[in-house]
Amino acid sequence: MTTTLYTSDHEWLAIDGDTATVGITDYAQQQLGDVVFVELPKVGRSLKKAEAAAVVESVKAASDVYAPISGEVIEANETLAAEPALVNSDAQGKAWFFKIKIADKSELGGLMDEAAYTAHTA
């Protein structure tokens, strides 16, 4: 069973065992507007928590997507790179950015659950 957690920078992580699937929240895509470009991390790259891992660009501006936790990138969503507008239509579903092998589960402690994230964006 998966648990979804959130960062204050509007990334979401779906935790399944020692794998986390990472994307940006629906709130974030609404703020960004029409997404036209996504740059994803290479598979095999080792990410440190809070490091810039991916880039999402709307018509208006470029924004970094940070690694919410440390770990190795095990998959990147190539469908998203080809079809960036998926971020607007399904931010918390098909528009996941990358999957990461969690290096240190204790880092999950600092993340928000859905109720806390909803309050954060209210």
Binding site: G33, D34, V36, F37, E39, V55, E57, S58, V59, K60, A61, A62
Partner: protein, 382 residues
Amino acid sequence: MPLPDDQNSLRQTPLHALHVSLGGKMVPFAGYDMPVQYPTGVLKEHLHTRAAAGLFDVSHMGQLALRPKSGRIEDAARALERLVPQDIVSIAPGRQRYAQFTNADGGILDDLMVANFGDHLFLVVNAACKDADEAHLRAHLADDCVIDSLADRALIALQGPKAEAALAKLCAEAPSMTFMDAGPHEVAGIKCFVSRSGYTGEDGFEISVPAAEAERLTRMLIENPDVLPIGLGARDSLRLEAGLCLYGHDIDTATTPVEAALEWSVQKSRRSGGMRAGGFPGAGKILAHFDNGASRRRVGLLALGRAPVREGALLFADQAGGEPIGKVTSGGFGPSLNAPVAMGYVPTNLSALGTKLFAEVRGQRLAVQVAAMPFVKNTYKR
């Protein structure tokens, strides 16, 4: 001009309440609280303007009248020629021309539109420069002209292939106007100044309307299902695709009209050998640039990949090593091209169409190519 950081100190246009009621996302711009987009979104607003018609509130821009004290319009035109490198004298009544205020170094203080309204000149200048422009006019032209700031007027732009039909319902003369015609016309019975011009590369109109009537007129125009309100976000991507300069970004006090590739806007009469050659601030440098060329030039840039190349990106001649050879001054995603578009300054010897260059984005050098502007063919009604 420094932007006030307190939202409450922002000025509002006469259409502010309408923007809010239409769901406009309001942001500070040049001291005004302006809609960057509506719920439609920047991408669709952009595409709608090119497919049908968009309505833009540009009331933050400055509108001025120059009235000759002698009563002779040529005297106002000759006076204004002391501040711009354009031929103002030859603007026929009912016509408009693009111009720049230059400084003693040949740089550009602002760009503007100048229309001949028969007994006076009508000027439209940039919002962020309008106070400085007015002071500049008063400092140099007060002996010859009465300078009226038309602060009680709003300015709306109606742009796109369906703009003519939309305006024709309210202004019977609109269809007979051609590109850069400008003059007083009644629109829905309201005394307006209408020009057939704009900032999108599309056919369209700009309508100066008394502030008190602005919302009523705008509501009548957007009642038409072909006309959507469009925010500043799409205004920027539309003008970028059209290859049009944004003051403070693509042109400023450090760029001459020749470096900015605006030679077309300087008529022969003001160039070396012309009937009224020179006589404007910075003429020595600007005419030398005309005669001998400038060392750098504003060019269009198309990225070969999908990543947008934005303002400030450094340009290089080679994929690795070397010093920057130039800089991107405007850039983003062009919705109509469905590709990244940019413009910037490069050395003249690297400005030929097709020249391959590299733009540094997030530490990587992305391939770009010097490309003709406009990126999207303009549809002006000549």
